[in-house]
């Protein structure tokens, strides 16, 4: 589809940017595992998963640049925005931590994405619906694979259980942000374009809790919850992540393979 056929709607652009930034930043974090996973097989599994997310990010950011009328390309958006312009939730920018924390984050996020995309396939926006249809099969596997690890580690040895639970405890203050609504998404949801994140809370947590039960893990109850990513407020770690992500493109603008 050429950009001229796409109706400009800055709200849709902003929504696509949120979903795209989530995928881009988590792809970057997950890619850090390549060559460092416990086994070569898991290296490839995490590499595949990161590349799936990167593919989603490319589609979503390309569309965001068209829908917001700015004409910015996926590369413009990924490499030439500063921290405060990123709209990803804070969960995806956290350092991966150990393998348990990595699986905790990926599992919760994939469970959320699965519910999101399985509804977004019915979006009145044809482009979002098409992106969701392709991504749904990918995140179904992410949810399955990471869920299997959560169960194995949680219901494994004393040490693996301890570290899996510690991983959950680390990421849990950042989970509620996934399900936060604001005026933008409620408006777009009412128009049948977006999915209201608040509607994903119930189904996502039902799946997550079922896996926790099998994994003999406890749902953490943190004293406070963090949020702000959708307004450009990020954690300290975000700057370091962007430095690594954007360094090459900014040092050599227009560089080609």
């Amino acid at each position: 589809m050429s950009s001229s056929e796409i109706a400009v709607d800055t709200r849709v652009g902003e929504y696509a940017l949120r979903l795209g930034d989530d995928a881009l930043v988590l792809a970057q974090r997950t890619g850090e595992w390549i060559a460092s996973a416990p086994e070569l097989e898991e290296d490839l599994a995490l590499g595949n998963l990161a590349l799936d997310l990167l593919g989603q990010a490319r589609s979503l950011l390309t569309y965001a640049g068209q829908a917001d009328g700015s004409g910015r390309s996926e590369d413009d958006l990924a490499y030439f925005r500063d921290e405060r312009e990123f709209r990803n939730c804070q969960l995806v920018e956290l350092p991966s931590g150990d393998f348990g924390a990595t699986m905790a984050r990926l599992f919760v996020f994939a469970s959320y994405q699965y519910e999101l995309y399985s509804r977004l396939v019915d979006s009145a926006d044809q482009t979002l619906a098409a992106i969701a249809a392709k991504a749904l099969k990918e995140v179904a596997y992410h949810r399955d694979h990471t869920g299997a690890w959560v169960i194995r580690l949680g219901d494994g040895t004393e040490e693996s259980h301890r570290r899996m639970q510690a991983g959950l405890d680390t990421i849990w203050p950042y989970v509620r942000e996934l399900f936060e609504s604001d005026d933008l998404v409620t408006e777009l949801a009412a128009a049948g374009i977006a999915v209201d994140p608040a509607d994903l809370d119930g189904p996502t947590m039902t799946h997550v809790r079922a896996v926790f039960l099998e994994a003999t893990l406890d749902e953490p109850e943190p004293a406070s919850h963090h949020s702000g990513g959708r307004r450009g407020i990020h954690t300290e770690q975000m700057g370091y992540l962007l430095a690594e992500l954007q360094h090459l493109a900014r040092s050599h603008p227009g560089a080609q393979w």
Binding site: E39, E41, L44, A45, N48, D144, H145, A148, R152
Partner: protein, 95 residues
Amino acid sequence: MSTTSWPLWEVFVRARRGLSHVHVGSLHAPDAAMALRNARDVYTRRGEGVSIWVIPADQIAASSPDEKDAYFDPADDKVYRHPTFYHVPDGVEHL
């Protein structure tokens, strides 16, 4: 890196319906369910298959290279075992 390695599994992939599963390689995995997932991630990344089998490598009985002469050489000079001594009549289809 773990100090104890996971067991080895042999992977067989069926490229499409109607073909048999073909050995494509091996991998490490803690159990069968994870071996299937790993096989998916390692050996079907480029659309190579529609079905996967995994088998514990230690469950495969293999002929020994030392027995190669006794096993296979006797078949070399038994040309009569090949179906090459028949004349196919003209007009026979589907052979």
